[in-house]
Assembly symmetry: C2
Homo-oligomer: 209 residues x 2
DNA sequence: GTCTATACAATGATAGAC
DNA sequence: GTCTATCATTGTATAGAC
């Protein structure tokens, strides 16, 4: 098969990256374990950095689709959407992914924090572009739930993303539900309180993260 | 001078790491720019990973000392300490460091997120050990400000650390005060609300992050 | 103790045959 | 698409000068 090579590389790379980190994992190790030729990685993905990026793209596509689907359900349920449920639609799929991503023990999302490192320019930029659509949708939903302008929420949503990202790296299988509930509660309180402070509608310069 | 070589390596490495990332920066580039011999890095620091760790140690020592000093001032001011000021003592020095660290343009703390990547085991573990003293002191102060057990605050403080870390990577010079105020407010609201949910005193298994 | 010059195995990447 | 052979560059180790 021609396409199975590409996918086999992706699967093996994801597992090895999660276990050993990006730098410690060599292309020779990946290709040996995936039973493909060394040059196949560069042929199918271009470079090692591009392979790392491809590993992320696949998971982030799942994650963001799931988030948007859940958000739509929440928006359909009530017109001023429920803030807790909006944040839940953002947080819960991420924590789920962090502990049970497709086959491997569940250590995939530890890579998200690992990944900010290495090729920060290319990878962080691409991830940000991936998130920008989702971020816009959620910022809009949160703003309607609170009755404030979406612009003022960017910073607080960044706080939430930071807390979520950091938490993903530390959460293990059994704690997903409990952790998600705690983080939703934490974020709701912070957002509601910040909304009281800035009820006006000003616009800040764009700062996508 | 005998000590200037070690420090020159540290300074040059910090700047290059911040600009290009850890992996992209080679030892030959560092030693060339610092005008020292290639082997000097391994002689003074042991390895490239150890050099990365040393770069962090230096800044984290400053940061944690500053945090504890400010915390002491807050504790001296009033016996049930003011929660806003406690969080400020934790957050403000970090954001300051992230934008104006010792000479270089201020891109140092961008490394903190970058760093969780590469040698996650050794570096993340050592950083956690560095933070554990500070974390304990702040958890204690927050618990007294709220009137709850410190154990129940671990998770919420982790949320705050995540938000802070993520924010540090994105904050630029002019936004320190404003960002710190917003993050303090966000964290206070989350902590106060979570304290209402769990006023009991149970103990969870240790999970230092 | 510090520093230098040099050497080494392993890595990511590429070119060209099939 | 896949493979073999090969390249420049990397982090690290060592031997020896000051």
């Amino acid at each position: 098969m021609t396409d199975s090579t590409r996918q086999r590389i992706l699967d093996t790379a994801e597992q090895l990256f999660a276990d050993q980190g990006f730098h410690a994992t060599t292309l020779r190790q990946i290709t040996r374990e995936a039973q493909v030729n060394l040059a196949a990685v560069n042929y199918h993905h271009g470079s090692k950095d591009a392979l790392i990026l491809a590993v992320f793209q696949r998971r982030l596509d799942e994650l963001n689709s799931e988030r948007l689907a859940r958000l739509q359900s929440v928006l359909d349920a009530s017109d001023p959407p429920d803030l807790e449920k909006v944040l839940g639609a953002f947080i819960y799929p991420a924590l789920l992914l962090s502990t049970q991503s497709a086959g491997d023990g569940g250590r995939f999302m530890r890579l998200l924090m690992r990944a900010w490192a290495e090729n920060a320019t290319q990878l962080h930029g691409t991830i940000a572009r991936q998130y920008s659509h989702v971020m816009r949708a959620f910022a809009d939903a949160v703003s309607r739930a609170l009755g404030t302008s979406p612009d003022n929420l960017r910073q607080q949503l960044d706080f939430l993303i930071g807390a979520l990202t950091y938490t993903m790296a530390e959460t293990t299988d059994g704690q997903v539900e409990e952790t998600a509930r705690a983080l939703v509660r934490f974020g709701c309180a912070g957002l509601r309180d910040s909304a009281l402070a800035q009820p006006r509608q000003t616009s800040l310069k764009e700062n996508i993260a």
